[in-house]
Symmetry: C2
């Protein structure tokens, strides 16, 4: 029975999902534990969580460590190779100190395992637009491509953070007579209790106002006919289209499967509909599809590639 | 001879200028000391600097504290009333602990004393576009108006920081094929040694790249015919015009004198020329003028108002 199993994990800021599969990626056992954002809570805590999930899985399936051919965790904060390697090294050392060793243990990014899961290891692209934005794709030669992901200061076009930031900017402009009237000003007042310039500045710079939390108000205002909010959505959905076109040009396949991730774009709302319409019209070779598997199964796919 | 003199001070992040004037604002003695950014270096250090400048002035002119009818410092960080009051209270207490008391000591913002100096206490407006941007104005009824100044996250339109940020965004877009070609990418490489996405992200998020430092490259690229850089300047100079129009509407005078402050807009460059042309065409009732007096004399004007 040795080495016939894989473990895939999907680590995030609030929880870590773990799945044990056979060599054909059929899930045999699932469990979950605490967060895996090791850049924030440290590799020691995350290593404890990972080991505990592995040991729970082994116990439940009556397996030994040697039955697992490969383990891979895709997690937030592992986008840089050096950061991913640090978690890998620290986990192996921690597990060793507890008397455990594994055949193969690797760390990858949360985006990468989502990509592998979505297309079962085949070619395709993943547009992530939640608080931030980025697009990843894999071509037929298994090469990974990427566009965007430059973060809240010089990037994140089309994301919740950007929608919210532009919304607040338009409120600021209305408040001192530099911009047209928008219902956003009223929404910021009724939902967040912010009613003048001084209060807005205090919330943003002293209380770290979460700009993405204002994105739903921008979407709602646009849906209700607010011209200024609508212009923000038009511009930012255009930016997302630029991401899609860029990855299409990189992948150089006739058609491209695209999976949407992140609350801003994957839920059914006025903005995501606007974006999907533009994809149909402006990038007709791109087909929006649902993910074939969840990220933790994508992690199991990647675990097998590492053997 | 008692109470026939005024002291005005202009406090900044690198130095504090001090001037003693007679009641007609003729400067009799000038000196300067260390920084006055009390939100950063604390009110104790700034109080020491202020007292030392006052005592030097008194000694040089053979005056006693009672000969000074009023003292006012306009300084960075005093834009909020509560912050300004804290420096005022702390200075008076500190001076008292050293055995000194003054007839009148007040704190105001650096922008406010610049406004009073520029128009010798009369009506006019001051557009500040350096790293950040804001416009202040005073009407014939002595009422102060303001627009902009919402800071780097949701405001600062038209400022050096915004020009640089948009420039970096366009470099990011070219680097991953989401935007047109721009000479900005080459300039960022040759001047800052940043040549790929990963390095750009590291500089911005780990090394706090000073975005305003890229503004001169954006201006230069536009001047040399770069379409993308030129579009940034067109949009941001339009934003500055919105500031001017907003303050013109608030002041409600037939004509408005406007003084320009801050490196981005007060120096003679391609961007400031573009802005001045737009003022002529789009706001012909606004007359751009030079400041009549420096900010420390503006502080002396305000000191007299406080008597």
């Amino acid at each position: 029975m040795a080495k016939n199993y894989l473990i895939g994990m999907d680590g995030g800021g609030t929880k870590t999902k773990c799945v044990v599969t056979d060599n054909n990626f059929n899930p045999l056992f699932e469990c979950q534990g605490g967060p895996s954002n090791f850049l924030i809570i440290g590799t020691q805590t995350v290593s404890e969580t990972i080991l505990s999930l592995i040991l729970d899985s082994l116990a439940h399936l009556h397996l030994s460590a040697d039955d697992i051919s490969s383990i891979l965790i895709g997690t937030t904060g592992a986008g840089r190779e050096t950061d991913a390697q640090k978690l890998q090294t620290d986990f192996i050392e921690y597990a060793g100190s507890k008397g455990y060793s594994f055949n193969s243990f690797n760390v990858s990014s949360d985006a990468r395992i989502a990509l592998e899961g979505a297309f079962s290891g085949e070619a395709g692209a993943l547009l992530i637009a939640g608080t931030g934005s980025v697009i990843f794709g894999k071509d037929r030669d298994k090469k990974i491509h990427r566009a965007g992901g430059f973060g809240r200061l010089i990037g994140d076009e089309g994301s919740g953070n950007t929608l919210g930031r532009h919304g607040l900017n338009r409120v600021a402009k209305e408040l001192d007579g530099r911009g047209g009237r928008t219902v956003l000003t009223e929404l910021l007042n009724s939902r967040f209790g912010i009613r003048d310039s001084s209060q807005l500045i205090t919330e943003v710079y002293r209380n770290n106002f979460d700009m993405a939390s204002f994105a739903p108000s921008v979407i709602e205002a646009a849906q209700n006919g607010d011209t200024i909010a609508n212009k923000i959505l038009e511009e930012e959905s255009d930016e997302l289209i630029l991401h899609v076109k860029a990855i299409y040009d990189m992948i150089r396949d006739e058609t491209l499967k695209l999976c949407l991730i992140g609350g801003t774009i994957s839920t059914d709302n006025y903005y995501s509909k606007m974006f999907k319409e533009k994809v149909k019209l402006q990038a007709p070779k791109v087909k929006i599809v649902s993910a074939e598997n969840p990220p933790e199964i994508g992690a199991a796919f990647m675990a097998k590639m590492m053997i």
